[in-house]
């Protein structure tokens, strides 16, 4: 076939043909800009940077193939249908044709995003890789006020809450949470699912402000996609641990805003359910409570309850632990998961009223602990004797049980990051806790190690040494172990101090002996002085040596700079600059630290 004739001057090759500006793309697709935006967001199409910007520097360019991809999208037709449908309804209403309007409203055209998700994430791992933004967004919307009349629909917020809890329940159940961090912006979590590190941020459980400078249309479009994505991801994850999705929750717990706990119970109960579905679960008190519930609920929830009766395990607190232990039988887990699972093993936590319940209810079970809270539906009460730690966030604690430790919530987070049970002294009620450090920072690479990080490192080292039970110490008591750790550290510190003192003493002693010798030899004081000067001069020479080596290093660097090509030299210099900037930052930190110490001493 002959090539099509292209009029001269019309460059339809290269960048001019490959890329199209946004305005042109919108015209090309014959849609409105908001629809185009929505399509792009749902399809995951983003502008690309052409090598040469033919139409101008300040414009947004899309690849022509991307736009062609959009043009063939069935969703485009669907959006047009929706638009036409809306117009029909409007027209019917305007004609007071209520029947037609109702009939039309009954059958609104809808679309599903499953095909798009599969298209964007052909494998499950791809989806997990891109899940960070999704989780952050869903958690953010889950924390927004569910008030009618705002821009965001209430059911959407509830859906976000549900999805986020389902995700957390899965993470908690599989013990795949790795790092947590309380920042000013919220709480960061990092989990590892199928080898992918997924980090997300949840806002603090406080009333969020709906700001005006935000375009909710854009955010809601993203949210729409993310909700679908997270739903499918959750389905897949629940499927992988043999749990039915969507989960059916205990309505009583749900009503008490303890969905996460309800979910956890559901999730962890599932394997057992499969094992012994026929087994009748009937402890008398359980039935009693069930009866109460039935009374309380309306007719429509009866059916659901009937289902639940099969699913709910016994209501006593021990069940959860049993189940968890059952799960340990499956030894297909890696070492880290085992570590995580056993961190809070045999520990029982109780959360006071003022503690942010959601995050701790998520974290503590994820690391193998048992947790309860003050309020209805909690698995065990505050007066339980077995509770080892009570999480408290108040200036003073009135009544204290001697059998448990009263710690601030930060202790849990620090323990999780350090993967050891830290000594609780610094975290007790009413004290200012030690600094909370980010687990996402590589201190060595940054060049600055905060003081507390070093302490934690030492504790970790000590813990790894003391993991084996010491001979002559029969223990399983964790408190003892902690005390041991603390003592060990103190001992070490004392030892190092003592060593320093010894050195000083030795030096003094030597000096004294020298002087004695001199006296014996009959050297006058002035002579000895000159002698000293000599020595000092020798020392000077020695001091010069490091300076020389410095000079040599610099020389070597200069020499190599001479023989570098210009490109490499520039690159090297740029790297040097960035390195120096980093160093300057570290210097600032160190200076501040010094100042702080100085002011403390004063």
């Amino acid at each position: 076939m002959p090539k099509h004739y292209r009029p001269p001057g019309k460059k339809k090759e290269g960048n001019a043909a490959k890329y199209i500006t946004r305005t042109k793309a919108v015209h090309h697709l014959q849609v409105s800009l908001p629809t185009f935006r929505k399509l792009c967001i749902l399809k995951g199409i983003f502008p690309r940077e052409p090598k040469k910007k033919v139409e101008g520097n300040h414009k947004t360019y899309y690849h022509m193939k991307d736009i062609a991809f959009l043009a063939h999208e069935p969703l485009l037709e669907k959006f047009r249908d929706i638009r036409a449908h809306k117009r029909k309804v409007k027209k019917a209403l305007a004609r007071k044709n209520r029947d037609l309007a109702d009939r039309l409203l009954n059958r609104q055209p809808t679309y599903k995003l499953d095909r798009l998700i599969l298209e964007r994430y052909p494998t499950f791992v791809d989806a997990l890789r891109d899940l960070d933004d999704c989780l952050t967004m869903v958690h953010l919307f889950a924390a927004l006020p569910a008030v009618g009349g705002e821009r965001i629909q209430v059911p959407q917020i509830h859906n976000c809450r549900r999805l986020s809890h389902e995700w957390q329940a899965y993470i908690s159940r599989t013990h795949s949470l790795r790092k947590t961090f309380i920042s000013v912006k919220g709480i960061y979590y990092q989990a590892e699912v199928e080898g992918q590190k997924i980090t997300w941020l949840t806002p603090h459980a406080l009333q969020q402000v709906l700001t005006e400078d935000v375009d909710f249309n854009v955010m809601l479009t993203f949210l729409e996609f993310y909700e679908a994505l997270l739903g499918f991801v959750n389905f897949k994850l629940y499927h992988s641990i043999n749990v039915k999705y969507p989960p059916l929750l205990d309505p009583r717990l749900e009503a008490l805003a303890a969905e996460l706990y309800a979910l956890c119970r559901y999730v962890s109960a599932a394997p057992e359910r499969q094992l012994g579905d026929s087994r009748a679960i009937s402890s008398p008190e359980n039935e009693q409570s069930e009866d109460k519930k039935v009374d309380a609920q309306t007719d429509e929830s009866d059916l659901r309850l009937a289902q639940l009766q099969h699913q709910l395990p016994a209501n006593e607190p021990g069940t959860l632990m049993h189940l968890v232990e059952d799960a340990t039988a499956a030894d297909d887990e890696d070492n880290e998961t085992k570590d995580c699972k056993n961190l809070f093993k045999n520990l029982k936590f109780f959360l006071s009223r003022e503690v942010p319940r959601e995050s701790l209810l998520f974290i503590i079970p994820a690391f193998g602990g048992m947790v309860s809270w003050e309020g209805d539906g909690s698995p065990f009460k505050e007066s339980d004797e077995d509770i080892t730690h009570q999480i408290v966030d108040r200036p003073t604690q009135g009544h204290m049980f001697l059998s448990r430790e009263y710690v601030q919530p930060q202790w849990v987070f620090d323990c999780v990051n350090a993967r050891i049970i830290l000594p609780t002294e610094a975290y007790l009620v009413g004290r200012v806790p030690p600094p909370h450090l980010s687990p996402f920072v590589d201190n060595e690479e940054e060049g600055y190690v905060p003081e507390y990080a070093e302490t934690i490192k030492r504790l970790q080292a000590a813990a790894s040494k003391h993991v084996l039970p010491m001979p002559g110490l029969e223990s399983g008591d964790l408190d003892d172990a902690q005390n041991l750790l603390a003592e060990g550290i103190i001992d070490r510190a004392e030892a190092s101090e003592a060593a320093e003192k010894k050195q000083k003493l030795a030096i003094l002693e030597k000096q004294y002996h020298d002087e004695l010798n001199m006296e014996l030899q009959g050297i006058t004081y002035s002579a000895s002085l000159s002698n000293k000067n000599l020595q000092s001069s020798v020392e000077d020479v020695q001091e010069d040596a490091p300076a020389d080596s410095e000079q040599m290093e610099k020389d070597a660097r200069d020499l190599s700079m001479v023989s570098m090509t210009r490109k490499k030299r520039r690159l090297y210099e740029a790297m040097q600059i960035s390195r120096e900037r980093k160093k300057a930052n570290v210097n600032i930190l160190e200076e501040r630290k010094k100042k702080a110490h100085a002011s403390k001493k004063e």
Partner: protein, 698 residues
């Protein structure tokens, strides 16, 4: 008539009832008013209440029979009220102003003038008003020119009007509408026309519509039930094993970069060193907006005191914008150790020997040593300094053999390259001196003496022929003086020791001169240079002559007397030049601290630029036998390079920086002024502005 009467009666009855209903409200209304009313109105209101009570009692009394009569009366009164009082004024509806100056306001029926009342004094009227307790309800009627006293009723009406109500209390403006017409059993249609036929036959269009609907319903086009809801989620990624199927379509996907993770400073409780002081926070205000830190760390004592983050939604939104609006490209991020950028140099051990450490210092000059020169045998070194002294030192011992006092700052100094002619050429000021060093055996001395003798006649000849230079016997010392017109900067010998060249940078067309010692003759072969000359050197083997101007290096063939090559170093200002003993390679030092290596066979562009020094390069030098070259600079250092030139033309010269030689100290902003290699040993001599000459040995 009787029917109408009955109706009016009924109406009146209803009206009365309504009044009755309204009356209980009255006191409360008054009570409401009382709160805001004046003291003066008080009495009146109590009167009004009394009257209303009277009315009520009367209403109750007359309820049975009298009421209709009374109402008739009242209605009559209201009708006649306008007729009753005829206006006194008879001027009609004309502006009163027209009668302003008249005494009358119209005429009465008898034709007499109706007189205006005498105008009262203000004080009188006021006093009258004070006495009269009813004064407040008196109004002056301007039209009729009389005072009217308002009745109680009238005042009540005014009050009601002021409050925005109906003037009469008994009128209900919002009374329910009573439809007097009985619709039900009235058999009278509105229209008397007969019913049309179309009312009795079924509609064709309706039928058509129905048929349409029925068809649509049968076909399933119209559905009444809601569509069934499918479960929203299912196992989307069944198994990932079919990799070929699971491939992304379209262009390559560039995943968005993940948001930066939080560092220590974002903690709710960071360590103290992460919290900036107040001064630092204030200093942020002085920064540019984009340099300013986005996030200022804060410390909260406990978790409960952490507030909600106000930018949470905004940051989420920004991230969304980034995701769908930011163009994405794959960028290669160089994540390498910067040390790996440094080239792998051949190990220095293999390139030995080269000057490494300072072995000897020659002290004696009292000013910066401008120039040094080593005798061909390598036994003697001559140095010239700005204090006007020329010294000869023994290289190995550092002993000063001879001193000449030239009297002027020595610019340049050069030994004759012939070992049997130990003559020293010294340029100082406008003069070039050829000094007899007195070395060598007796025969040589004789020869030199002969050579350095200038006859008087010869000087005149020289003066005539060259006119730029005059050859004169040196007065003080044993030697010849060449007097130039301008300051001479450099003196260089030809390899055969008979010719030497001098450069006068400001000499214009006579900038570069070539002198012949044996004939005491001066020539000026190169007239045009275009730029100030810096130095001139002879080619070591061929009859070529290099002149470096500030911009470039010009190569002349002396035998043909023409320019054969121009080397373009592309540097700002050339300061020195040195020729490789092979003659094919040239190095040029510049005042910006860069050095250029030219391969003459290759191109007129430099083969390599070596940015060695941060300051001006003062001199460059090649070793005569070892593959070494050096540069010295005002930054008090001298660089030693390995510069191997291969005889194979295909192989490029190998240049390796070897060593940086320190030791000199800066004086007056100048560092090392000259460097020269020992002719046989890999030793380097450097002359510094600190009046010291140093010898670096391997």
């Amino acid at each position: 008539m009787p029917a109408a009467m009955a109706k009016s009666l009924a109406a009146s009855k209803k009206k009365a009832d309504r009044v009755e209903q309204e009356e209980p409200e009255e006191p409360s209304e008054n009570g409401f008013v009382r709160e805001y009313g004046d003291q003066e109105e008080e009495s009146e209101r109590s009167d009004a209440v009394g009257s209303s009570e009277d009315e009520r009692s009367s209403g109750e009394g007359e309820k049975d029979g009298k009421d209709d009569g009374k109402i008739h009366q009242s209605s009559e009164e209201s009708d006649s009220s306008e007729d009753e009082v005829a206006p006194r004024n008879t001027i009609g509806e004309v502006p009163l102003e027209w009668y302003k100056d008249e005494e009358h306001i119209g005429y009465d029926i008898t034709g007499k003038k109706i007189r205006k009342h005498a105008r009262k004094d203000k004080i009188d009227s006021f006093l009258a008003g004070v006495d009269d307790s009813k004064n407040w309800r008196k109004i002056y009627d301007e039209y009729n020119d009389e005072e009217v006293e308002l009745t109680r009723e009238e005042i009540r009406i005014i009050r009601r009007l002021l409050k925005g109500r109906t003037p009469h209390a008994e009128v209900d403006p919002y009374a329910p509408y009573v439809d007097w017409f009985d619709w039900e059993d009235k058999g009278h249609p509105l229209s008397n026309a007969p019913e049309p036929k179309r009312r009795f036959i079924p509609s064709k269009w309706e039928q058509k519509k129905v048929v349409q609907y029925v068809r649509a319903i049968r076909k399933g086009l119209i559905k009444f039930d809601k569509p069934k809801e499918e479960p929203p989620f299912y196992l989307l990624w069944g198994d990932d094993s079919s990799v070929a199927e699971n491939k992304r379509h379209g262009l390559s996907y560039i995943p968005a970069p993940k948001p930066k993770l939080a560092g220590h400073e974002e903690s709710y409780n960071p360590s103290i060193e992460y919290i900036p002081t107040q001064e630092e926070i204030n200093s942020y205000q002085l920064m540019f907006e984009e340099d300013r830190p986005k996030f200022i760390p804060r410390r909260y004592e406990s978790l409960r005191s952490v507030p909600a983050y106000e930018n949470a939604l905004k940051e989420g939104f920004d991230r969304c914008l980034d995701l769908y609006l930011c163009p994405r490209t794959r960028k290669k991020r160089i994540n390498i150790d910067p040390e790996s950028l440094r080239p792998k140099l051949p190990s220095k051990k293999d390139l030995k020997p080269y000057p490494l450490t300072c072995y000897l210092e020659y002290r004696g000059h009292s000013g910066p040593v401008n120039s040094i020169s080593i005798e061909v045998s390598g036994q003697w070194i001559a140095s010239g300094s700005t204090d006007g002294m020329v010294r000869i030192w023994e290289v190995e011992t550092g002993r000063c053999l001879r001193v000449w006092d030239i009297g002027e700052a020595v610019q340049h100094i050069a030994w004759n390259p012939l070992p049997e002619l130990p003559i020293l050429a010294v340029s100082a000021g406008h003069e070039v001196h050829l000094l007899n060093t007195g070395l060598g055996d007796a025969e040589e001395k004789m020869h030199i003496k002969e050579l350095l003798h200038v006859e008087e006649v010869l000087t005149d000849d020289a003066g005539n022929s060259a006119s730029a230079v005059s050859w004169v016997q040196h007065e003080k010392h044993d030697g010849i003086t060449l007097k130039h017109l301008k300051t001479v900067s450099t003196v260089e010998w030809h390899r055969k020791g008979d010719y030497f060249t001098t450069v006068m940078p400001s000499g214009d067309s006579r900038a570069v001169l070539i002198h012949q010692l044996s004939k005491k003759h001066t020539a000026n072969p190169i007239k045009k240079l275009r730029a100030p000359a810096v130095s001139a050197v002879f080619h070591p083997t061929r009859p070529f002559f290099f002149i470096s101007t500030k911009k470039n290096v010009r190569v002349y063939d002396l035998s043909k007397n023409k320019l054969i090559k121009k080397l373009e170093p592309g540097l700002r200002e050339v300061s020195s030049i040195a020729i490789h003993p092979g003659g094919d390679n040239v190095i040029v030092g510049s005042k910006e601290g860069k050095m250029c290596w030219f391969d003459m066979d290759l191109s007129s562009q430099p083969y390599k630029r070596l940015p060695a020094h941060p300051k001006d390069i003062t001199n460059v030098a090649f070793h005569r036998s070892y593959p070494l070259f050096a540069s010295c600079s005002d930054d008090c250092t001298a660089y030693v390079f390995h510069g191997m030139v291969y005889s194979d033309l295909n192989q490029n010269p190998l240049i390796v920086p070897l060593e940086i030689l320190h030791g000199h100290t800066s004086s007056n902003g100048r560092g090392v002024l000259d460097c020269k290699f020992h002719p046989r040993q890999p030793w380097l001599f450097t002359a510094g502005a600190d009046s010291v000459i140093k010898l670096y040995c391997h």
